[in-house]
């Protein structure tokens, strides 16, 4: 141990080490969380607007005429047109995706990853200032990128809409962060390398390859037509499978055992699940292009890999379930556990659904429909985002030394988002299935394209309502987080989980 003060009991020593590690990454991790939560709210607004436009195409299509009239007088020519054009669905929708993926998802994951690495390597983060600077750079990239999207500068490549100069900024920022994360790993305390670390190190290694290759072969030195298609979806699916999924699983594998106080059920299963994921997931990309202008061998390989994914997914599910068994009552008392278990269960569901969607027969119906959107939200929100929420609820008090202010705010957040996402996924799945079925049966005179549009509208309206529910949850979360940063957190009261080493002597006698 680095500071083994002989007079302190071992518990106090460990607590001190934990506190030192937490203190070293306080500023960068909180900065990443603040970044993530800010863009989460912005992204949810974009999402809500996009959702409303899908069933109500006249929803805010231009500035009100009286406002435009005055704005025209006091601004450069074309300002009104630029603002009006930024409001179109075709720009708001990618703004939503890029904001939630690169503004919320990635910074949240990076913040959680840095803290997990510091804790699991049991060394402080060196040069936290550089990591914070990287965080600021990331935000600059986001602002410039979203601005570019809204003003018509999108590359029109899904998941890679940011112009090349923005991806360059994000890439540099990412490099700065991962260098110091890997530095912690290299200087780690001797001992076993925990499963979460495998997932994080893998994600940090894979993401730059994915981002770099995709940007080079589609933007800078473009491959030919349909080859871009497969590279696009190799990237898009792997952003989910080799970036977000490992970060989410890393968090789940730490939070679940740590909160309930029981080690992971079968560590062998964790290792097996990890390598199976690494081997199979990266081949899935072609399942986004079934029926597309690509050779059959490519599509078939992706379908086979998508089905093989059942193996690591089921293995992980068994592991989490058996770890939780007998401890489900802790869900009553732990905010983190609620969010993380919800997320872990959603991971199983989303992945099994995904494997089923790869079969050509089902894919013929679901491809190009809202069913796919339901699936992507099940994965990125019900799985990844809920786990990130849970992780942030765990980490922030340990960084600030204060407990969350209000149990009510946490419960509002959980229930609005849980009901919201379940409703959203159900509505989109049913609506999408109807849409797909009608698309596949044009012989029925009631399945003209205009009929299909009418049939999906009620489902899309329902989805907007679920989006409002989720918006409420996010605002509660953002407000609560701001309160914590403004030092409104509780510092005492009841048997607080942040008891200082001295007062730990009460519980010291009760453990084995």
């Amino acid at each position: 141990m680095s500071q083994n003060l002989k007079n302190m009991p071992v518990e106090a020593n460990d607590a001190l080490e934990r506190a030192q590690v937490d203190a070293s990454c306080r500023v960068p991790v909180l900065l990443f969380f603040a970044t993530a939560i800010f863009w989460l709210v912005v992204g949810t607004v974009f999402g809500l607007i996009a959702s409303l436009k899908l069933h109500d195409p006249y929803f805010i299509i231009e500035l009100p005429s009286w406002f435009a009239f005055y704005l025209e007088k006091f601004s450069p020519a074309g300002t009104v047109e630029m603002i009006n054009s930024s409001l179109t669905f075709g720009r708001i929708r990618p703004a939503h995706l890029n904001t939630v993926a690169y503004g919320w998802g990635s910074p949240a994951g990076l913040g959680v990853a840095i803290w997990l690495m510091a804790r699991l390597c049991r060394v402080p983060l060196r040069y936290p200032t550089l990591v914070s600077a990287a965080g600021v750079l990331w935000n600059i990239g986001m602002v410039v990128g979203i601005g570019a999207l809204l003003s018509g500068g999108s590359t029109s490549i899904e998941w890679l809409e940011f112009p090349p100069y923005v991806t360059f900024i994000l890439f540099i920022s990412f490099a700065l962060i991962s260098i110091w994360a890997v530095d912690m790993f290299v200087h780690r305390k001797p001992g076993h390398v925990y499963v979460s670390l495998w997932y994080i190190m893998a994600a940090l290694f894979w993401f730059p390859w994915l981002y770099g290759t995709a940007n080079i072969l589609i933007q800078l030195a473009p491959a030919q037509g349909s080859v871009q298609g497969i590279i696009n979806w190799w990237y898009g699916h792997n952003a989910l499978g080799l970036w977000f999924t490992p970060l989410g699983l890393a968090a789940a594998y730490y939070m679940i055992p740590k909160v309930i106080g029981r080690p992971v059920y079968s560590y062998y299963l964790s290792a097996f699940g990890f390598w199976a994921l690494a081997l199979f997931y990266s081949w899935n990309g072609g399942h986004h292009l079934i029926g597309g202008p690509l050779p059959a061998w490519l599509i078939t390989t992706s379908i086979v890999a998508s089905v093989m994914m059942v193996i690591p997914v089921v293995v992980t599910a068994i592991n989490h379930h058996m770890t939780m068994k007998g401890n489900f009552n802790v869900l009553r008392y732990s905010p983190t556990l609620r969010f993380v278990v919800f997320g872990a269960m959603s991971y199983t569901l989303a992945s099994l659904q995904g494997s089923s969607m790869a079969f050509r027969e089902l894919n013929a119906i679901t491809h190009f429909t809202h069913y796919t959107i339901g699936h992507s939200h099940l994965g990125l929100y019900a799985f990844y985002t809920m786990i990130m929420f849970g992780s942030i609820y765990y980490i922030v008090p340990r960084l600030l030394g204060r407990e969350w202010v209000s149990a009510l705010l946490i419960k509002v957040h959980f229930w609005t988002c849980a009901y919201g996402i379940v409703t959203m996924v159900l509505l989109l799945s049913v609506g999408g299935a109807i849409q797909g079925w009608m698309l596949q049966h044009p012989e029925n005179p009631l399945n003209k394209f205009s009929d299909i549009v009418e049939a999906t509208k009620p489902w899309l309206r329902g989805r907007s309502i679920s989006g409002c529910l989720i918006m409420v949850g996010h605002l509660a979360f953002a407000y609560h987080f701001a309160l914590m940063l403004l030092k409104f957190g509780r510092s005492e009261g009841g048997p607080t989980l942040l008891a200082q080493p001295e007062s730990n002597t009460d519980s010291a006698g009760s453990h084995s």
């Binding site: 460990d14 106080g261 080690p263 290792a271 009552n329 008392y333 732990s334 048997p495 989980l497 453990h511």
Partner: protein, 70 residues
């Protein structure tokens, strides 16, 4: 179809065999316990809602259960 199945499945099997024969799976279960330390040992719940006395609530809940059974 068969080709990709053989290829992917085969690589998985080979990788497992390689790992097992290179001692990757020794002493695995020790690894699961590394997230605990003396201050946060196995058996201790480390998260709860703010302002809620978990021990007390759990005792109350178990007491209610006992009363129902009686």
């Amino acid at each position: 179809m068969l080709g990709s199945l053989i290829f992917l499945g085969g690589s998985a099997v080979y990788a497992l065999y390689w790992a097992a024969s290179h001692g990757q799976f020794k002493k695995m279960d020790q690894g699961a316990k590394i997230i605990f330390d003396s201050g946060e040992p196995v058996g201790k719940v480390t998260d709860q809602f703010p302002g809620v006395d978990m021990k007390k609530k759990e005792e109350q809940r178990l007491a209610k259960r006992k009363m129902k059974k009686a």
